[in-house]
Amino acid sequence: MLKDITLGQFFPGDSIVHKLDPRTKLILVIVYIIALFQAKGWISYALVVLVTVLCLALSHIRFKTIFKGLKPMLFIIVLTAALNIFYTAGTPVLPGWIITWEGIDRAAKMILRIVLLITGTFLLTYTTSPMALTDGLELLLDPLKKVKLPVHEMTMMMSMALRFIPTLIEETDKIMSAQKARGADFENGSLIQRAKALLPILVPLFVSAFRRADELAVAMESRCYHGGEGRTRMKQLKMAGRDAIALVLGLLFLAGMILCKRLGL
């Protein structure tokens, strides 16, 4: 069950999107999010959908994978949609109903916005290895080192966290099975009872995570890790022609979206 979580996972590949510099992709995701929030009318939303589908096609990521990743977000999506449907003033769909045409319109746009937002960020993590991602982030944030921000340490922590997600998920699965074998019940009872039942999972999980962290630190040190100073990288990040093209296209897309907003589309 827990193994289905695809959040923050990387699917190795050979597409043009995979080959882009992680810095380009990070900037493009930010541009994409800004552009998405410019969308007001259906024409501009259609434009974002078109661009998103195009990017997905270029990255060879299947829609199925995206849908799987969206599943954990279903609750939030349904909740926002419901709130928008019921709490928007306007002309009722049928006389006497709370549901208004405006509400349906807003709810549909809200669902679309959340789905597009998640898809855009998934596209980044699915096509960029966590190492490349954190390397890119570190280089992008490099100027902040001047104001004594521990950029290297922060990005190293991030990459370690990403590295251990699958390991800890596996561990949680194991502990849950062990507790179930001894009669623990995670599915029945009130919300409070179920929350309490989680305690025997969390305690061993935390204990083992701390032990792992300790061993990992020793292993890293014995491989001569001594902070970011004097470190080199095997995979040098280099901006290529395609990165420039991608960035120009991204900015054009943003300009287009702003234009759409001005025109009220």
Binding site: T167, A219, T232, Q236
Partner: protein, 279 residues
């Protein structure tokens, strides 16, 4: 040949413990040799290994690695560059999400130029037979494969010594064979000094030298043939001897006069057949 690791009267006590874990170790390890250290839990064998890589420093006495005193903090990186360490749990020593990125970790820390890192990573992965899986995610590999990645991660650093602290304890028999044959090859073909800490007797048979640790001291030291021949000592330490030695020992107790130090099964069979023919 010269000693690359030298222990001089090393004592060590863990901070929250009053019993000494190492009680005056004197030890020299020669460059290019394959040394196995055998002992049961709590015998001090892991503590011994941790002194070779400055994870621990002696409370008394000193440890020299290639002439560098491990107690001197200025030597820390130099010593760790010379001594690569592989640990028991493969999951907790892999730092990256892609096999080749993990192998690159140590040379990256040392500031090696990128093209050179690429070369070393490819070479190290080929040496442990994991080159084909270089783009895989480590958590999808088997235990033996993960441990071979960990070994590659260490040899990419180009150390002179590789210390393996029970690298096979969490592996299945198949994974254990993979790891042991990999490290044996590294020592024989690349001339690397290997120190293997283990509690599996059969992994020590191929070593040049075997140390038995007991109560923080070295109880026996010699070639595997000589050490395993001391069957009473091994039994006292609660350790197994190879089946060949056990058979020869039992035959001797029935009145035969056979040498105990035959570890190869065919050679042992030949020797017993010889005895039968003579009668």
């Amino acid at each position: 040949m010269s000693a690359i690791i030298r222990f001089e009267n090393v004592h060590f006590t863990y901070p929250d413990n009053d019993k000494e874990s190492l009680t005056g170790i004197d030890l020299e390890i020669e460059e290019g040799s394959f040394v196995a250290v055998l002992g049961h839990n709590g015998s001090g064998k892991s503590t011994l290994a941790k002194h070779m890589n400055v994870i621990l420093t002696p409370t008394e006495g000193r440890v020299l690695v290639d002439g560098l005193d491990t107690a001197d903090e200025n030597n820390l990186l130099e010593v760790r560059h010379r001594v690569g360490m592989v640990f028991q749990n493969p999951d907790n020593q892999i730092v990256a999400n892609v096999v080749e990125d993990d192998v690159a970790f140590a040379p990256e820390n040392l500031g090696v130029p990128p093209e050179e890192i690429r070369r070393r990573v490819d070479e190290a992965l080929k040496q442990v037979g994991m080159y084909e899986l270089r783009l895989h995610a480590p958590h999808l590999l088997s235990g033996g494969q993960k441990q071979r990645v960990a070994i590659a991660g260490v040899i990419a650093m180009r150390p002179r010594i590789v210390v393996l602290d029970e690298p096979t304890a969490m592996l299945d028999p198949q994974g254990r064979r993979e790891v042991v044959s990999t490290i044996t090859r590294l020592c024989r073909e690349k001339g690397m000094t290997v120190v293997l800490i283990t509690h599996h007797m059969e992994e020590c048979i191929g070593a040049d030298r075997l140390l038995i640790m007991s109560e923080g001291a070295i109880a026996a030291d010699g070639s595997p043939e000589d050490v395993f021949s001391q069957v009473e000592l091994m039994q006292r330490e609660g350790l197994d001897v190879p089946e060949t030695t056990q058979l020869l020992y039992d035959l001797n107790r029935q009145g035969c006069d056979l040498p105990l130090g035959i570890l190869d099964i065919d050679a042992c069979a030949e020797r017993v057949a010889q005895l039968l023919r003579a009668q």
